[in-house]
């Protein structure tokens, strides 16, 4: 039914193109890496595969954040925590897969437990030797945390800045907790030294390519799901809550449940991103809970354009590519560049790259007196700002289509 809508709505061109590109990349990049000889001009080196795979995970995380921030106005400064929890769940699976190949050759206990004198496996490590169990945990742990956290916070009507600050407190508390060696998650060193995933060597090129493809496909799926959510009546409700929460309440909607659903879905998406990320970078440690990481995610979404589906993806890819470039070529300037980007985006690109592009395009089209009705239908995610419509209307002579413009009462 939703798929029907997807293919029927030819207007959602941008989403379709994005999904198509992602799926194509999922097939082509691994091919170019595995089947093409390294001497060929088309060869994609393994480290580029690993790098872009990582970016795609970040893009998924940014998309997850955008679902709550862009569409529901919840600025979560704790999405890194959901990402990290998903990553830890996957890391625990990978850790158990090492089996007796650890340095101490202990068949059951991971190395860090051996040298910290753990007598036996802590109860919460049970089950992680099974992929299906770990996969469920990847979804369940972040989802459950988000559900419980959101259930309390949204019910108590904690909003805006307060919510942002307590999400930050949440990730900070988790950071401190995971740093503790007594927690049984490897402390500061985290989980590392992975060998196999589903029986395949994590370092093999083929595995890397498969993980890359999995990331791209998952991202494509996430784009589709996000699109389906925001296009549904619920999605409209989500934006309604963002714009006028009390109005939705007085219409009988439970705004807290509306937010809770989005928050939980978003956390699950973030968790999946983390789970895909860990085998590709080969380590998960409490550093991922750093509040600054979560803030960086916000910037990716902001740069690309919040409240759009493609924006956060573009933002995550661009900022991270920039980060890779700067930290390699101009290491001393990396923080200046990142800091400057934060400031510049908030000041000059409040709608991000995609939002800016849309505004520019709408403006241009409006000036050409194209029918705006058609435009409005183009992408429900990116409503053209009314301000621009008005300014265009001041252009004399060609504004008959929409009838007399009402004067705003200001």
């Amino acid at each position: 039914m939703i798929t029907g809508r997807f293919f029927a709505a030819g207007a959602d061109r941008r989403i379709a193109i994005t999904i198509f590109i992602l799926l194509a990349v999922a097939i082509i990049v691994p091919l170019l890496n595995l089947a093409v000889p390294p001497t060929s001009a088309f060869y994609v080196p393994s480290y580029v595969v690993a790098l872009t795979g990582k970016y795609l995970c970040y893009a998924l995380l940014a998309l997850a954040l955008d679902l709550v921030w862009g569409y529901c106005g919840i600025l979560s400064l704790g999405h890194g925590a959901f990402f990290a929890l998903g990553g830890y769940a996957m890391g625990m699976y990978l850790m158990r897969q090492i089996g007796s190949r650890g340095v101490y050759g202990n068949p059951l206990l991971p190395d860090f437990m051996v040298f910290l004198n753990y007598g036996e496996l802590p109860w919460f490590w049970y089950g992680f030797d099974q992929f299906w169990f770990a996969a469920i945990m990847v979804l369940a742990v972040p989802g459950l945390l988000a559900f419980v956290f959101g259930w309390f916070a949204f019910r108590s009507r904690v909003t805006g800045v307060y919510l942002s600050i307590i999400t930050q407190a949440m990730t900070y508390a988790l950071l401190l907790a995971f740093f503790r060696n007594d927690m049984g998650f490897g402390g500061n060193n985290g989980l590392t030294d992975f060998k196999d995933i589903l029986g395949y060597n994590v370092q093999a090129d083929a595995t890397r390519s498969a993980l890359f493809a999995a990331s791209a496909v998952t991202l494509a799926l996430a784009v589709f799901v996000t699109w389906a959510i925001v296009g549904s009546k619920y999605g409209k409700l989500l934006m309604a809550v963002r714009d006028a929460e009390s109005r939705t309440r007085f219409l009988g909607w439970r705004a807290e449940n509306v937010k809770l659903f989005a928050f939980t879905v978003s956390a699950v998406m973030a968790g999946i991103a983390g789970a895909l990320y860990v085998p590709q970078v080969g380590i998960i440690n409490p550093g991922e809970f750093e509040p600054s990481n979560s803030i960086e995610v916000v910037v990716w979404a902001a740069v690309g354009g919040r409240g759009t589906i493609v924006g956060p993806i573009i933002g995550a890819l661009m900022v991270n590519a920039g980060k890779s470039w700067f930290t390699g070529v101009l290491p001393a300037f990396w923080l200046f560049a990142l800091g400057g980007l934060f400031v510049a985006v908030t000041l000059f690109l409040p709608k991000g790259i995609v939002g800016m592009w849309d505004s520019w395009r709408d403006n241009a089209k409006a000036l050409r007196a194209a029918s705006i009705n058609e435009e409005f239908g183009t992408d429900p995610a990116v409503p053209p700002p009314p301000k621009i419509v008005r300014s265009a209307a001041r252009t004399p002579g060609d504004w008959s289509a929409s009838g007399p413009e009402p004067q705003p009462a200001e």
Binding site: S232, K233, A240, A244, S246, F250, F261, F376, P386, A409
Partner: protein, 248 residues
């Protein structure tokens, strides 16, 4: 006083913020099917009274009953809205980034939980209802435009339309004609009188011309309690009302 035949029953309600008594021993009764206009100076407690009725503010003391038997102090906004109390804010509040049609769609009576909304498809009946309301509030030609581009008065109407879509038993309408032209005001009065035929309505308004046009019983609030109640002529003749509100 018997509650049984009332749509709204407030008795001895008080609420204070940081020592300031916004509502002070307020008693007010609205019969089923009645339309009532409430006037009073700024700070008289009109909006706070609406906050109490709609569950936004809990009273410190007093009884608030809806439909004769429902204790409203035990419910929150969403529940109260579902029971059938609709509210229009003083400042028109519509979903500006949605089209007018979507605004109404979100307000339409129906299940209010997440999953039905997620898999919702518009039925023919719903489409008809929306068409009807669009006609009523005279926004039919703008159904696909964003609410943000509407004029102030049109937003007021859209909000009233959203109230109607909710199909409530009781409508609380806060300053519906603020910022409207005279013609629009008359139109609004007509609209409200239409609505009052099969709904109970409370209208808060400063515009005495408009109140006169409605031609209903009037309650004047002052410092959180009822100062005077009766027909508009009776109330405007009341010395105290003249003193605190209408001016000499």
């Amino acid at each position: 006083m018997s509650k049984s035949n009332t749509i709204l029953y407030l008795d001895g309600v008080s609420v204070s913020f940081d020592g300031f008594r916004a509502i002070n021993n307020l008693s007010l009764v609205l019969d089923k099917g009645e339309m009532r206009a409430i006037i009073g100076p700024n700070g008289a407690g009109k909006t706070t009274m609406m906050d109490i009725v709609t569950g936004k503010t809990r009273p410190d003391a007093g009884e608030v009953y809806f439909d004769g038997q429902v204790d409203l102090t035990k419910h929150d906004e969403a529940e109260i809205a579902m029971m059938g109390i609709g509210r229009k804010f003083q400042k028109p509040t519509v979903f500006e980034s949605h089209t007018i049609e979507d605004n109404l769609m979100l307000a339409l009576k129906g299940p209010r939980s997440i999953f039905p909304a997620l898999f919702h498809r518009r039925s023919a009946a719903e489409a008809r209802q929306i068409d009807d309301i669009l006609g009523l509030i005279r926004l039919g030609d703008k159904r696909d435009e964003l609410a943000a581009i509407l004029s102030h008065g049109q937003k007021q109407w859209l909000e009233i339309g959203m109230l109607l879509a909710q199909d409530p038993k009781l409508l609380l309408v806060d300053e519906p004609v603020a910022g409207m032209t005279d013609a629009e005001t008359e139109e609004t009065a007509r609209l409200l009188k239409d609505i009052a035929r099969d709904h109970s309505v409370i209208v808060v308004e400063h515009d005495m011309h408009f109140v006169r046009e409605l031609g209903v019983k009037v309650t004047c609030l002052h410092e959180g309690s009822v100062l005077s109640e009766g027909s508009l002529d009776f109330v405007s003749a009341d010395e105290r009302v003249v003193e605190v509100y209408l001016g000499r």
